[in-house]
C-alpha cells in the first residue's frame, strides 16, 4: 500500500496544508485510541472540512490503494481507529455543527464530529432529549456513536443508538456521496442502508451527516442504589425486578472491586463493604417514576438486598450516574494496564456468566472486576494488571478468549456495544459462522472495492 510524497501533496491540495499532518510528532498521537495494547502509526492525518473534501480524499485513496481510517474522538475500546495498516487517519472533529433541531418533527440534523453531550444539551434546552447515553458521552462523537452503534445507560428501556438514527449522509470509499433514510420514522423504500451503516465501524462509508430522532424530555426521574452480598445475588435481583413488571430506564451493576475504585475517585459515600451494587433509575411522569422506583426497591429487598437508598435530588442522581460512567478509568487506579472487555448474554444467564468469569479469573490468577448494564445482560469484565508482567498479559489474553467462548455458549455475543474493531476480529468467526462472515466480506467489497476503508477490521 504505497503512501508517497505525491499522494501527500494531493492530500494537501484537497484539505489545505494547515489541515494535513505528516511529521512524526504529529502522527504519534494518532497511533492509538482508548484500547490498550494496540498501536500503529499512520502515514498522514487529515482534517476535512466538508463532505466534498471527504469524498476527494477517499477517491484518491481508492485510486492509490491507500488505507483510510475514519476517526471521531478515538474513545472506542476495540482498536477501531488504530491504523493497523498505516495510511491516512481521517479526523472528523472539524465537522462539529448542529445543523438543525426540529421541535415539530422531533429530530436533529448534525455533523458527525459533534460530541454526544453537546447534542444532548442542545436538545435539553429545547425540552427534548437525545436518548443514547454512552458512558463516554462527554468525549465521544455522534458519528463515532453511530459507527459503533453505541449503547449506554438507558439501553434497557430505550434501546441503543440504532433506534434513533433516521437518516445518514455518507461518503463511499469510491467517492460517491449518498443519503440514506431521511426525516421520516416510516420509510421502507429499499434495503435499510441506514441500519447497515449504523454499527459498520467505519468500514463501509464515512458518515458526514446524521439525522437523529429526539423524544420529549421526560418530566421526572428517580435513581437509587441497592447493595448486595455478591454479584450473583445482584443478578438474581435483576430478574426479579423485570418479572415484577417494571422496565427501568437504567439498571447497572458494579462488583465490589468496582465500587471501591469508584468510591475512591468520586467519594459519594458508597458502601464499600458490600459485594455488589445495583444502580437503578427510571424516568417519566413523577408519580409513575415514584411507583416504579418503589417497586424496584422492594424487589431488591425481597431478593436479599443489604440496603436500598434513593437519591433524593437530581444532583445526587447525576453524581451516581457519573460515577458509574467512570468505572473503567477509576479501576485503572489499581494498576496501570487495564483491559476492559465487553460481552453480552441473555439476561437470565447473567448470574451464570458472572460465576464463569470469576472461575476463569481465578484459574488464570488474574484480578478481573466486572461491571455493566445488568438490564441488557451486557457485562464489562475488566482486568487490571502491571504492564511489565508479560506473563500476566499473556494469561489475560487467554482468559478473555475463554470469556468470549463462555458468552457464546450461553447464547450471548462477543460484544454488546464496543464493537469488533481490530481487537475482536479474531473471535468474529466463532460468533457469526463462516457463511455469514463470507457475506460480510461480499458486502464490504460492494461498498469498498479497493478495500481501503479501515482495513484489518470488519469485513477483512
Amino acid at each position: 500500500m504505497p503512501f508517497t510524497a505525491e499522494f501527500a501533496d494531493e492530500l494537501a491540495r484537497i484539505v489545505g496544508h494547515q489541515h494535513l499532518r505528516l511529521g512524526p510528532g504529529e502522527l504519534a498521537p494518532y497511533s492509538r485510541d482508548a484500547t490498550p495494547l494496540f498501536s500503529a502509526e499512520p502515514d498522514a492525518v487529515v482534517f476535512p472540512g466538508d463532505a466534498e473534501e471527504v469524498s476527494a480524499v477517499l477517491k484518491l485513496a481508492t485510486e492509490h490503494s491507500v488505507p483510510v481510517v475514519p476517526r471521531g474522538a478515538g474513545s472506542n475500546l476495540c482498536a477501531g481507529t488504530v491504523p493497523v495498516d498505516g495510511g491516512v487517519v481521517l479526523v472528523l472533529t472539524r465537522l462539529n455543527r448542529i445543523l438543525e433541531i426540529s421541535d415539530g418533527e422531533l429530530l436533529a440534523r448534525v455533523e458527525p464530529g459533534v460530541t454526544t453531550n453537546t447534542l444532548s444539551e442542545a436538545a435539553e434546552k429545547r425540552g427534548l432529549r437525545y436518548v443514547p447515553d454512552p458512558g463516554s458521552r462527554m468525549v465521544s462523537t455522534v458519528g463515532g456513536n453511530i459507527a459503533t452503534c453505541a449503547g449506554g445507560l438507558r439501553g434497557l428501556k430505550y434501546g441503543v443508538t440504532r433506534n434513533y438514527v433516521l437518516g445518514l449522509e455518507a461518503v463511499l470509499p469510491t467517492g460517491e456521496i449518498i443519503r440514506t433514510g431521511g426525516r421520516l420514522w416510516k420509510d421502507v423504500a429499499g434495503y435499510d442502508l441506514t441500519r447497515l451503516l449504523t454499527g459498520s465501524e467505519g468500514t463501509l462509508a464515512v458518515l458526514t451527516e446524521a439525522t437523529v430522532a429526539l423524544v420529549p424530555a421526560p418530566s421526572g426521574g428517580g435513581t437509587g442504589v441497592a447493595y448486595f452480598t455478591s454479584l450473583e445475588a445482584a443478578c438474581g435481583a435483576v430478574a426479579a425486578i423485570i418479572e415484577s413488571g417494571v422496565l427501568p430506564a437504567t439498571l447497572e451493576f458494579l462488583d465490589r472491586k468496582c465500587v471501591r475504585a469508584v468510591e475512591e475517585f468520586a467519594r459519594l459515600g458508597l458502601r464499600t463493604d458490600a459485594g455488589a451494587l445495583l444502580l437503578f433509575g427510571d424516568d417519566g411522569p413523577a408519580e409513575a417514576v415514584a411507583e416504579n422506583i418503589d417497586r424496584i426497591g422492594k424487589a431488591c429487598v425481597a431478593e436479599g438486598a443489604l440496603e436500598v437508598t434513593l437519591a433524593d435530588d437530581i444532583t445526587s442522581a447525576e453524581a451516581l450516574l457519573a460515577a458509574r460512567r467512570c468505572s473503567l478509568p477509576a479501576l485503572s487506579r489499581l494498576g496501570s494496564l487495564t483491559i476492559l472487555e465487553d460481552a453480552t448474554v441473555p439476561r437470565p444467564r447473567l448470574a451464570e456468566m458472572v460465576g464463569r468469569i470469576d472461575d476463569i479469573a481465578e484459574r488464570h490468577e488474574l484480578r478481573i472486576a466486572t461491571f455493566g448494564h445488568a438490564g441488557d445482560g451486557n457485562l464489562h469484565p475488566t482486568c487490571v494488571l502491571d504492564p511489565g508482567d508479560t506473563g500476566a498479559v499473556e494469561r489475560a489474553h487467554k482468559a478473555f478468549g475463554e470469556i468470549f467462548t463462555a458468552a457464546i455458549e450461553l447464547g450471548g455475543t462477543i460484544t454488546g456495544e464496543h464493537g469488533v474493531g481490530a481487537a475482536k476480529l479474531p473471535y468474529l468467526l466463532d460468533r457469526l459462522g463462516p457463511e455469514q462472515v463470507a457475506l460480510l466480506r461480499r458486502i464490504k467489497a460492494a461498498f469498498d472495492p479497493a478495500s481501503i476503508l479501515n482495513p484489518g477490521k470488519l469485513g477483512s
Binding site: G25, R32, S75, T93, N117, V139, C326, S332, R333
Partner: protein, 362 residues
C-alpha cells in the same frame, strides 16, 4: 527508556479520553495532538526513544499547552499531568529551544535584590517586624504590575507580615523548563518565610504547595475563609449592590481545589454572578500570554463574550496573570466592566465603597 519522565506517572494514563472535553487547546483545534491524552502519547514516544527531542511537533505541543491543568480534576485515573508537563519542558526547552523572553524573565525573577528594588519603586505592601503566624508572599509579577493588591491584602489583614527580600517562588522557572531551579527557589522562599505563607496569586500558591506541602501554603481567600473573616461593608454601584463575577485561577482550582472560597467572599460583599466557563482558562497561563499572544487571545475570546452577556460591574481574578489578561481583553473591547483582584474588592467593601455612576451610564 530515557528516564525523562516519572515512569509511574506516565504509566497512569489509560487513554480513556475523559480529559478531552476539559482541554482548551483541544477545544480550539479538535486535534488529538493538542489534547492531554495526545500529549501524553507524545511523551511516551519521547520516553521510548521513538521520537527525537528536536521533533518540531513535540516542541510545538509542549508550548501550545497552557499548563492550565484542567485535565487533572476530570481524570479518573489520577494522572498528574502538571508534573509530566514540567518534566516534558525540562526535557525539551533546553538552550535555544527555550523562548528568549522566558529566559529573560527567568533571569529577572531569580535576582532577589532586583525584585526588592522593583517592589520599593512600585510601593508594594510592607509590614515591619516579625511575622506573627503568617507571612504575605509578594509575588514577583504582582510587585511590579499590581502593588495595590498586596497593599489591599495588608489593609484587610494587618496581622500578615510582608517582609521584603523574600525572593520569588520559582513557578516561572518550573513552568518554563527549569523545574530544578523552580524547586530550589520555592525551598528558599520556604526558608525565608517560616510558618504559613499566604499568597494572593493562585499560580504561586500551587507551585509553593507542591514543594513546601499543602499545610504551609494558603491562598488569600482560603486564609480568610479559615479565619472566618467576612468583610463588613459592601460594594455598591449606582445605588445597588454591585454585580460581580469571578474568573477562577486554573492552578488554584485544578491543583489545589480552591474555588468555593472566593465565590463565598464575593457573595458576602456583592451580588455574585457565575460566568459560564468561569472554571476554564482565560489564556493568561503564566508567560503564555506573552509567548503565544494569538492563541492566548483565542482562548480568552469566549470569556469576554460571556462577561459582556452577564452584565456585571466587576470581574474578579485571584491571580495577577489573569488580572492582566482580563484587563487587556476588556480594554480591547472597550468594555466598561472593571477587572480587579479579590483583595481589592474586599478592601473596597471594607471602606463601604460606592461607585456612583458607571462610565457610559446616562
Amino acid at each position: 527508556m530515557s528516564g525523562v519522565f516519572d515512569a509511574e506517572k506516565l504509566g497512569r494514563c489509560i487513554s480513556c479520553g475523559f480529559c478531552l472535553p476539559a482541554c482548551p487547546t483541544y477545544a480550539l483545534t479538535g486535534d488529538e495532538a493538542a489534547s492531554p491524552r495526545g500529549r501524553i502519547t507524545l511523551m511516551r514516544a519521547l520516553e521510548e526513544g521513538r521520537l527525537d527531542v528536536t521533533d518540531p511537533a513535540s516542541l510545538e505541543q509542549s508550548s501550545f499547552c497552557l499548563g492550565c491543568r484542567a485535565c487533572e480534576p476530570v481524570c479518573p485515573a489520577g494522572v498528574e499531568y502538571g508534573t509530566l508537563l514540567e518534566q516534558w519542558r525540562d526535557h525539551q526547552w533546553q538552550g535555544a529551544a527555550r523562548p528568549v523572553l522566558a529566559r529573560w524573565l527567568m533571569a529577572l525573577v531569580s535576582r532577589a535584590w532586583l525584585l526588592r528594588l522593583q517592589g520599593l519603586v512600585r510601593g508594594h505592601a510592607r509590614g515591619k517586624g516579625e511575622p506573627r503566624g503568617a507571612a504575605l508572599l509578594l509575588g514577583c509579577v504582582e510587585r511590579g504590575l499590581y502593588p495595590e493588591v498586596s497593599r489591599a491584602a495588608r489593609e484587610l489583614r494587618g496581622e500578615l507580615a510582608a517582609p521584603s527580600g523574600q525572593g520569588c517562588c520559582g513557578a516561572l522557572h518550573a513552568h518554563n523548563g527549569d523545574s530544578r531551579t523552580g524547586g530550589a527557589m520555592a525551598a528558599l522562599v520556604g526558608a525565608r518565610l517560616p510558618g504559613v505563607i499566604v499568597t494572593t496569586a493562585g499560580g504561586c500558591a500551587a507551585h509553593l504547595a507542591a514543594h513546601l506541602g499543602r499545610e504551609r501554603v494558603k491562598e488569600f481567600s482560603e486564609y480568610l475563609a479559615e479565619h472566618e473573616v467576612v468583610p463588613s461593608g459592601e460594594v455598591r454601584v449606582a445605588g445597588r449592590r454591585a454585580r460581580v463575577a469571578l474568573q477562577d485561577s486554573c492552578h488554584l482550582r485544578n491543583a489545589l481545589g480552591v474555588f468555593a472560597e472566593p465565590r463565598a467572599l464575593i457573595g458576602a460583599v456583592a451580588d455574585y454572578v457565575e460566568l459560564p466557563g468561569a472554571a476554564g482558562c482565560c489564556g493568561a497561563a503564566g508567560t503564555y500570554s506573552l509567548l503565544r499572544k494569538r492563541d492566548s487571545m483565542r482562548v480568552l475570546a469566549p470569556k469576554l463574550d460571556a462577561i459582556a452577556e452577564a452584565e456585571v460591574d466587576f470581574v474578579v481574578a485571584v491571580n495577577p496573570g489573569c488580572l492582566r489578561q482580563l484587563r487587556q481583553g476588556l480594554k480591547s473591547r472597550g468594555s466598561t466592566v472593571r477587572a480587579i483582584h479579590l483583595a481589592e474588592l474586599l478592601a473596597m467593601a471594607q471602606r463601604d465603597w460606592t461607585l456612583s455612576k458607571r462610565k457610559g451610564d446616562a
